[in-house]
Structure formats: C-alpha cells, structure tokens
Amino acid sequence: MSAARLFGFGCLLALLAVCAACSHDRDEAAPSTVKLGERMSPGPWGQISRGRYLVRAGDCAACHTAEGGAPFAGDRAIPTPFGTIYSSNITPDPDTGIGRWTDEDFYRAMHEGIDREGDHLYPAFPYPWYTRLSRDDVLAIKAYLDTLTPVRQAHRPDELPWPLDQRGVMAVWNGMYFDAGTFQPDPKRSPQWNRGAYLVKGLGHCGACHSDKNFAGATDKDDPLTGGFAENAFAPSLAGGTRDGLGSWPEQDIVQYLGTGRNGRTSAAGPMAEVVEDSTQYLSKPDLQAIAVYLKSLPARKDSAVASVDKDTLDRGAALYVDNCEGCHLKQGQGEPGAFPPLRQSSAVQAKSADTLINVILNGSRIPRTAAEPTGLAMQGFADHLDDAQIADLTTYIRNAWGNRGEAVDAGHVEDLRKSLRQSPGG
C-alpha cells in the first residue's frame, strides 16, 4: 500500500513570495456555545479513552505507523510532490518520541505546526486542519499517546531538495496559506451540523485529499471538498454535485460507507479503503450521522460540461468491459448489491479526474475489512493484462456508459500513471 495522507507544502515559488507574515490566532475568540468532543465521563480514564477514539478519528496511525512497524513509532515514508518525508515517532519515548513533550508543546504542534524545538513542521502533518481542534481534544489525544509503549525509533531525515529542507521556509508558507484557529461553531446551525463540520474540517482532515491543492500544495482556506488529487488517486468531490458528488446520496448511505467501507452505490478504494479500515469504521453512529449532515449541507455545484466521446472509443471500451469487468460489475454496470460495487451512477467513476478509476484498473483494489463487514472482496489489477490504450478506452467507456458522463482519458495519461505507480514507494 502506498503511504498515507497527503501532500505538500512550500515550493521555490513560495520562497519568492515576500510575505512572511505570522499566522493569526483566533483562539481568543468568543467561547463556544456548542459542546464539542465526545461526551465521556471526566477523569483520566475518560480522557484517555476519548483520546483513543480521537486518535482513530484523526487516523494518526495511517502516517505514524510504518508497514510492519511498531504502532505510532513513525518512520513511514510519505511521498509528496516535493520529495519524501518520514513520519515522526509519537510514542512516549523520551529521546526519539514525544516522551519529553509537555501538553503545551503538543498543543503548539497540533495548533500551529511548530514542534518542541520551535521548528516548523511540514504540512504533510495536517496541522492546517488539526488547528481547529479544541484544546480538550488535543490534550485527550496526548493523554492517550502517553499510555503507549515507548518505542525507540529515531526520525529518519526527510528527502527534500534545497531550500525546502530548510524548515524556516514553512514560515513563509504558513503566512500565505495557514490560519491557526480553533473551530468556530455556527450558531445558526444545529449542534449536529457543527459536530460534523468540526470532525470533517478538524481531525478528519478530509480536505487534505478531497480539496484541490495549489502549486504549493496548499488547500483553499475555505476547504470546499470539491475533489482533489492524492497519491495517484483522485479523491472525489464530497460536495453536492449529483453526478460526481454526494448530491444524490442520502445521509444513510454516507453513514454506511464510512462505517463499513461500502454501500449500495460504491465501495471504498485506494487510500480511502485504509481510511475506513483504520479510522472511520470506529466512529460512533452519531458522529457518522453528524458528518453526513455536514457533507449534505455543502453547496451543490453545477455539473461541468463534458465533451462527447467518439463512438469507436466507446465500442472498443465496451468490448474490453465485456471481457474483463462484466462478470462482477454486470452488464449495465449495476454491480451486485451486497458484493461488488456498481459503476453506473458512481460519483467516483464520473469524477472530474479518472485517476482513481485508472488506478483501480491498473492495481486492483480491496474493499476494506471492517468489524461490521469482514469480507475484503478484492479485484485484481489489470496492469499486466491491458495496455495503456486499452485501459484508456475502457476507462472512457465506463465513464460514459449507462448514463454516466465523464471526460475521456488518453493513453498517455494512463502511461504516466502507470509510471508514477511503479515509482511510488510501497506502490
């Protein structure tokens, strides 16, 4: 499996930017009138178990546990467009972990992206989202991490080119793209909506994949969740488009998807399969419900126009579909409810970018194994079976069959993806 969350951060151009302004901290703003966080009993036990829940909600293990490594001991390679970063050890080892960190040190890292030594962290660590966490929640996370077995695992130097290896660069980046500040509930909205927004925009850091990023790897501060690239895949829009967003999904489908990795419309693939397995399946029903309510409130966008696809391509794609896909996804792309995901009317299939679909065809995919749904139904990859032109035709066909609409894919793009998949560490 390729490594976890996102993305990048500063680049040379960012360096040229003049602004070195500091981030604005809005912590001092009016106190919240909506109760946030899990309603657990006070006291250390309650705090620790709440921390454990939050660590799962934030999917910390995804980056901070290397494949086959000790939990939370870091050393997982995180590929970014700018180079490889290695995650840090967050077990309470005094020398190589966070054993010497005070609550204040930890809060500053989560809230401002600055470590105990005062150095800037790279936003591969999603502090632009974690900054929104309540102090209580951050300290609960710390309380849980403090209970882990300390593991000695030194931080491996990141592999970044100059000048990105200079952490001071991040001050510039932060000045341009980052505002520290705890989540501010919207009093006009329901507590449920606010809870959902808090989880999505905070710990869930959904926008890290599902929002578009600029050349510097930064997400729009509004975090529109209209889809974005992540690890050779395209994380589809979570906004209200009916074709490629969640517009036609009832809340219940979102809850089922996040809780079990599948629903009658689709199943989780690629990086999202890991997210469900390691994180969202552990969220409580009320929290999943709250996330669904928030996502359903995102503004609908008009579906973008799609150029029509020529008939020859569709004919070639249709033949490939019959030979390779129809056995499980069936003739009308309807899939098998309760087993294999439909492709018809799938928002992932019709997404702005076909990268997720191409990735699944090349590499295969496994539906996450969750407590509620233990079967990791898997599809094999077709990288050795179909060439770039065939995969392009097939992808174009699936994106335009049975009422689906999506931009055509060309063979050159498949070739690029095939190359980058081969190069990605652990890919």
């Binding site: 390779n324 056995g327 499980c328 098998e336 409810p337 309760g338 087993a339 294999f340 295969g364 496994r366 194994r369 509620a372 749904e373 233990p374 079967t375 990791g376 139904l377 898997a378 599809m379 094999q380 077709f382 050795d384 079976h385």
Partner: protein
C-alpha cells in the same frame, strides 16, 4: 531433534474446510487454536483472480494447485497378491495442498446423504435379510443418524450459500425438489442456479421416462449472498472453471469465501503454512496426545505441544498420521481385526455421452450446475431383484466446456488430426454427458496400511492403498449406467454412447477425489477408530475429521456430509472442553 514450541490449546493438522470450521467454532468457545498447513497461503485475489485462473493447461492439465507427489504420495495395488508401487503422478483422485484444501478446487456439489445411508447395516438387514450382504462386505452403521445431523447440514449449507430447491421441508414434499431427500428444517439459502440448455434437455427426458428430476444443490452462489458469519459472496458468473480451479468471483464456497475473513481477525487463532505434520505425539501411556511434530519448509523439525489435536488433513493423510504415530490398532485384513486403515472406500462413476442436434453452449457452466434424478440412490428402490447393495444419482452436470478435457466425441471419431478437428467442430456445441455417481461399500480387501518398502520425503513409510472394484459395485454401476442411457435415449434425436465402468480399478485416469474410510466412526471400538463424535477411542484428546471417518461411501459427493459432521463434532468438542474425557464410554 525437534525444537519445542510454547504450547497451544488446540492444534489442527491441515487448514482446509474441516480445520476452518473447527477453528471458527473453538475460537468462539474461547480457546487458542493453531492450524498447521503443509501448503501455501492462498486467497481469491491474487491467487484465483479472473485474469489468470481460467487457464486449463496450467491448473487442470499441469495440476497446479494439488499436492505434489514428490513430497508425499502413496503406493497402490489392487489386491494383496500384487506388489504396491508408488504413484509418481496424481491420477484417479486429486488431494489438495494449501490453505482451503480441496475446498478451493471442488465443484461445489453439496449434498446431504440419505437417512438410510447412516444406518445402512440395520436397514439392509431389516429390509432384505442378513444373507443379502456379501460376507466380505464390512457394512456398518455410522453411530450418528440423519436426524441428529440435520441441524449441522443446515449450518453448513447456510455457511456456503448453497443454491438449490428443497424437496422435503419438515416432512412435506415440495414440488421441483428431490422427493427422496431426508426431511430438512428449511429450504436452501439461495434459489437454484439458472438452468442451461443441456440440463433442460435432461430434465425433459427424465420426466418422459418417469423420473422426478431436480436441480442439484450447488455451493455456487446463484445470487449475491451474506452468510450467518457476515461474509459476503458474489453471484456465480457461469464461467465453467470450478473443479480443479479456485473461484475468482467469490461465488464458490470455500474456507476463503465463507469463514476466513472472520476467523483470521481473531486474536486466539493462528496458522502456519509450509508446515508438514509428521507425527502425533503421545505420552508414555499412549492414551494422551501431547501435540504434534512438524517439519517446516527449511527442513527444520518442531514439536508443537497442545492440549488437544484435531486431524483435519485429507482422508488418506489422517490415516497415515495415525499409522505412523502408532495410535490405534492397525487393520489386519486376514483376521479382519484392528481398525486403523479399515474400511477404505471410494466411489464408482460412469457416463453416457449424448450426441444430438440442439446447440447447448457448454462453456456456460458452473461446478454444481446440474439436474439429477435420485430414483436409484441409496435404498430409494427395491434392491431385492437387483442383488446388490448401494446406488447412486444420475445427473447431467454442465460444469463447463473447457477445450482440452471437457468435450465429448463419438466413439468412432479419430483421436487426432483433421478427422478429430472435424468431429470436435461438429460436436463441441451439441454433445453432453450424463454421469452416474455410485456408492462403494467397504470390504475386507479394501484397506490402508504402511508400505514396507517406500518412504516419503520426511522418511516416513508411504501409505499403501489396496483396493479394487468388487462385483457388487460393478453390478450396481452397470445398472445405474443403463438407467442413465435410458434417459439419454429419450432426448430427441440422440445417439448415446454408454461408458460403463469395468474392473479392475485403475488409479491412473481421474475418476473422483471422494476417498473415504480408514479411520471410521461408529459405536464399537472394535470396528471404528473414532466414536460417534469423531473422538478417538484410544486417545480422547485426539479427534479425526473428514471423510476418513465414513464407514463406507454413499452415492453422493461427500463434502456436505463432511461439513455437517464437522459441525456435529465441534458441538461435542465444546462439551469436551468443559469436561475433558471420553464422550462415549465403552
């Protein structure tokens, strides 16, 4: 010297169907279970993925997923006057190696035995008199009844998502099902598979002759399915690559598609692959198993202590392990005493090829896609005038139309060249074949013991099989084949080619992998290795699963009964765990 490992509660020898069920049940009961598998780990993707599994040359001809005779094989002879020689290639039957065992490569033909099958001695004596049973036939009751097994058959069928049409629910006959089957508590979990053209022909012809055909029970999911463990299966695509292949579509029931997704998540379950168990160890009293010894892939020998040992390997291997471990008295055919190796049985098959004009598209098949008649199975008919014991079903299976091994040509067609091609061209799409699948009883002369000459890769003597078809079985099979031909001839415009099975038994051409006996169950320790709960009479913390416990073989494929017996035994094991000791006292 074997290095000693930390003890476990229960060690399972093998990791196929029976081991998976036992592991699932006993881990639920809270004990720690370790399965030792001699073969490799395998899963639907990547091992059986649809981009490569439909490769007949690799899997069917070159036998990719079976045991390899260069490590373990057996010697064979037809009778004691011959010298047994080792099998250097697999032939008449195909034991598996690897996780999932033969549950990976079976067809999914998932039957229940008839109620009389379990009490065949009592029933036969009552209906036909003692004298009806040949003197050298070791016919015996199972010690368990159909009624006792019914809930366990039910569990296995719902685990597997069996597609079928019930014929008898709670004593009420249901139209379209098998009117001869024992009463079942409820119908099958899934409706029957779609019919194909050849089974429609068979159905019509069989009705014309006066029989009551029904869809064969299939552990090939006719619909997407979620079993009681919450495991999901996909709908069968009728690709025609079941037998000797793994299923790439999650449609054929196997440990991988029904149990492992749940079992492998449990903290109290572990398995190791490439570990060949070579001994069951006992303490100095010989009455208690202390664990097993196994050899890993590097040739290192390990001792795995355990509180309880369950033999879950293929039928022959269970018997072999008992013999090399010197547990139980080996069978002596001369005096007809001793039990280990006694009552080996097989099955007897034949076919009737049908050549007709209607296009059948045989390539659209499934391992258990078939239509059968059961008029001549078990004791569903009067054996008095026939003078033989046993019977079998007659079925038209359309398991597939694979190009190399699955085609039927007229008797006179050339075996090669342009003439062969012409015959193939003319018949591939229109020919079909009706199969008979008959019981084999147990005889004094059919048994398993250790070969005096040949040894396996681990230095153990090879298992020796002494077996031949007896007049009773040849007569029965001939009778069944004639009935099959009668159905074949009722197909419009049909020419039939009756392919009766003759003796002596040859172990070379493939027939069926349904080997039974050698460690049989029963109520008398003088004629059985395990009691009615599959617990060893001699070593109460040792249990034997699988078809090696069948006292003789019935006229059906064995897996359904193997599954039911495993659940039945698992329920007994749970009682045993609370109060270890013999569950049946003698």
């Amino acid at each position: 010297m074997a290095r000693r490992l930390p003890p476990v509660d229960v060690v399972l020898v093998g990791f196929g169907w029976t081991a998976s069920i036992i592991a699932q049940e006993l881990t639920d009961a809270g004990v720690q279970v370790l399965a030792l598998e001699r073969g490799a780990w395998r899963d639907t993707v990547p091992d059986f993925a649809t981009d490569h599994i439909q490769d007949e040359l690799r899997y069917a001809v070159r036998k990719q997923i079976f045991e390899s005779p260069e490590r373990e094989t057996m010697t064979f002879r037809n009778n004691t006057s011959q010298t047994a020689l080792p099998m250097r290639h697999l032939g008449s039957f195909l034991p598996a190696a690897g996780v999932g065992g033969a549950g990976v490569h079976w067809n999914g033909q998932c039957w229940r035995f008839l109620p009389q099958d379990f009490v065949i001695r009592t029933h036969t004596e009552q209906r036909y008199g003692k004298g009806f049973i040949p003197a050298d036939m070791n016919l015996q009751d199972w010690g368990v009844t159909y009624e006792e097994l019914e809930p366990h058959y039910d569990r296995f069928e719902y685990l597997c998502g069996v597609s079928g049409q019930a014929g008898n629910v709670g004593g009420q006959l249901v139209a379209g099902g098998n009117p001869f089957e024992g009463a079942r508590a409820r119908g099958y979990p899934l409706p029957p598979l779609e019919r194909c053209a050849s089974t429609v022909l068979f159905d019509k012809a069989a009705r014309e002759v006066g029989f009551k055909p029904f869809p064969c029970p299939a552990a090939n999911a006719s619909r997407p399915y979620r079993n009681p463990l919450g495991v999901q299966m996909g709908q069968c695509t009728y690709c025609g690559y079941c037998e000797w292949f793994g299923c790439g579509n999650y449609s054929k029931a196997s440990p991988q598609t029904t149990i492992l997704p749940v079992l492998l998540k449990k903290d109290n379950f572990r398995f190791k692959t490439h570990c060949a168990v070579t001994r069951v160890n006992t303490d100095n009293t010989g009455k208690r198993a202390t664990g097993v010894t196994y050899v890993d892939v590097d040739g290192n020998e390990w001792e795995q202590p355990a509180q309880m040992v369950v033999l879950c390997a293929f039928a022959h291997h269970n018997v072999h392990l008992l013999l090399v471990s010197k547990i139980g008295q080996p069978y002596d055919p001369v005096s007809n005493t001793g039990v280990v190796g006694r009552n080996y049985a097989y099955q007897i098959t034949s076919s009737v090829d049908v050549f007709q004009k209607e296009r059948l598209n045989p390539f659209m098949g499934a391992g258990a896609l078939g239509q059968a008649v059961d008029e001549f199975n078990g004791d569903n008919f009067d054996h008095g005038p026939q003078g033989f014991v046993g019977g079998g079903y007659i079925a038209l299976w359309n398991t597939g139309g694979r190009p190399i091994l699955q085609h039927y040509l007229p008797e006179k067609a050339p075996k090669w060249g342009a003439g062969w091609k012409k015959a193939m061209h003319e018949n591939y799409l229109t020919a079909c074949s009706i199969a008979t699948h008959g019981s084999v009883m147990s005889y004094r002369s059919s048994y398993l013991d250790l070969d005096p000459t040949w040894r396996d890769a681990y230095g153990n003597p090879l298992l020796r099989l002494t077996f031949d078809f007896q007049p009773n079985e040849l007569k029965m099979s001939g009778f069944l084949t004639d009935k099959a031909a009668q159905i074949g001839r009722a197909i419009p415009g049909a020419t039939v080619h009756e392919k009766k099975r003759g003796g002596p038994y040859s172990i070379v051409p493939y027939q069926t992998t349904h080997n039974t006996g050698g460690a049989v169950m029963g109520n008398d320790p003088k004629t059985s290795v395990v009691n009615r709960y599959l617990q060893s009479w001699d070593v109460p913390n040792l249990w034997v699963m699988g078809s090696s416990v069948f006292p003789q073989n019935a006229g059906y494929n064995p897996t359904g009964t193997v599954g039911a017996l495993t659940y039945w035994s698992a329920a007994a094991m749970k009682r045993y765990l609370k109060n270890p000791g013999p569950l049946v006292t003698t």
